[in-house]
């Protein structure tokens, strides 16, 4: 399968059939594999049709890469089978835990920023990569509380994990903004602390700003501050696939694509800003 490039959108059930008909630009689609595992039916049929039209990326939500529980062998095998079927070459997942002690939180929970957690998460990432037989890029998650025991900053932690695991980074600029706001930090400083040179993909999304807390709900238009972070990130990183996420209160496809168009404009401007200026002056 062709690797994702440009600006894609997350594939959502509500507009899957519209995507088969739209003539508007969509560079690639990202799926949440868990929505398809063991679930034949219309959404899977739509995915198979869409895979013939668009490059597909996969973004898992339940591997629980930092969690204490062993990987679910059956779930990993099913995931690998889906990725094989769709010829998806890279997997992305969150740098967090979702399941612990048999409790499936169905949420993305930050790890404590410690050396132990770095080594544990990196080892689990490598194990998952081996079992899925493909590289995994890990995403920085939105954080709402400093986890007890933490002795590093978020940027230091993410950098240490991706370096120890030798994996790529899925940089979520909305998560950078949300985490920074919730920790009373400067979002630009947190962005700069991330291991940007390892970025393989970028996510951008909307969030809910409740003043005392920002909630990463993927249910609103992207805020100007996050667009600015996207521009700054792309100017630093260069041309990487960008994904617009809209997961709750999902509007009509055209509205999502309007937002993707805006992401494309931001990316284009950022890439232009980093293009070296060629001098046409000829020495006399």
């Amino acid at each position: 399968m062709t690797e994702p490039r440009g600006v894609g959108i997350g594939l959502r059930r509500s507009f899957a059939s519209d995507l088969l008909r739209t003539e508007r630009r969509v560079d690639w689609l990202e799926i949440i594999p868990e929505n398809f595992l063991g679930k034949p039916g219309p959404f899977r049929h739509a995915l198979e049709a869409l895979a013939g039209r668009y490059p597909i990326g996969a973004h898992g939500v339940s591997l629980s890469l930092g969690g204490p529980d062993p990987f679910d062998d059956e779930a990993l095998a099913a995931l690998k089978s889906l990725l094989d079927d769709l010829a998806i070459e890279r997997m992305t997942e969150h740098l967090c835990f979702a399941t612990a002690r048999g409790f499936h939180s169905h949420d993305l929970i930050a790890l404590p920023y410690t050396e132990e957690a770095v080594r544990w998460a990196a080892g689990r990432i490598r194990e998952a990569e081996d079992r899925l037989e493909r590289p995994i890029d890990v995403e920085n998650v939105s954080t709402y509380a400093r986890m007890p025991g933490s002795v590093m900053s978020e940027g230091e932690f993410v950098r240490a994990v991706v370096e120890e695991a030798g994996c790529g980074l899925l940089l979520d600029v909305n998560n950078v903004y949300v985490s920074a706001r919730n920790a009373s930090l400067d979002p630009a400083a947190l962005l700069a602390a991330m291991p940007l040179s390892r970025t393989r993909r970028v996510h951008v999304a909307g969030h809910l700003d409740k003043g005392a807390v920002c909630i990463d709900d993927h249910g609103h238009p992207v805020r100007d501050e996050v667009w600015a972070l996207l521009g700054a990130a792309v100017a630093e990183i260069g041309d990487v696939p960008v994904l617009l996420e809209w997961d709750t209160d999902v509007p009509a496809l055209d509205r999502v694509l309007d937002e993707a168009d805006r992401a494309r404009d931001v990316v284009t401007a950022a890439l232009r800003s980093r293009t070296p200026q060629v001098s046409l002056a000829v020495s006399a």
Binding site: E34, K39, S62, H104, I109, A117, W120, A145, P148
Partner: protein
Amino acid sequence: MSSPPPGLTRFFDAVVPILRGDAPASAARAIEPGYSAHDVARLAMFGGMVRRQRALLLEKVFRATCAAWALEAPEGFEEAVAAHLADEGGAEPDYPSIALGFADRVASAAPSWVAEVADWEECLHRLRVVGAPPVDPGLRGPVLARAYSFDVPAWTKAARRGVVARPTASPTPVLAFRDREETLRRLRPGPGHVAALAVARGEATPEALASVVPAEAIATAAAELTELGLLAEPGPRGHTEAR
């Protein structure tokens, strides 16, 4: 790597009960005595968000049920959701599947017509999102058959638009299934459809049903259900018989 190192093990031991709501956030001080009041408050808030995420699914799936419940009692729905989630306990790895079984809880705590709405919303959620229930031989795909005491599908649709009133009794059989284009369909079956379904599932023969529904009516209904994508295409022998 079979288990996390000691410090991380202590972290999970302390934090998971907080996230489940089984321990106060201040229990985090067991692993960091200097964990500030601000940190404790933020962790408590986050734990609430984690638990809320699970409740949101049920509130979304059972929107009409919530409206029906409110007509009978001003309170109790949220408590039923909380009790359902407490019993589930985070054991279900598939997020949409958390909602399954809630209709049974409603049936044990609310009037029967409210339970019928919950049953219908759970049917729709199962067919739309959770995944197909087992397919009976003779059927093309999963079919959920129900016999309600009023027009539950219409009531549910109206309730989701905000139109809520106590229903009037009107026995309503309904079949929910996906058609050939995989669109979710609801069919109000007649006696021929019910008989054709029973025949396709091997529960009866046309001869045995002849005193209730003529064989021709069963054949006509079977052809219609096949066209709709509810029944599997018959094999050569069955095809000949249907004609």
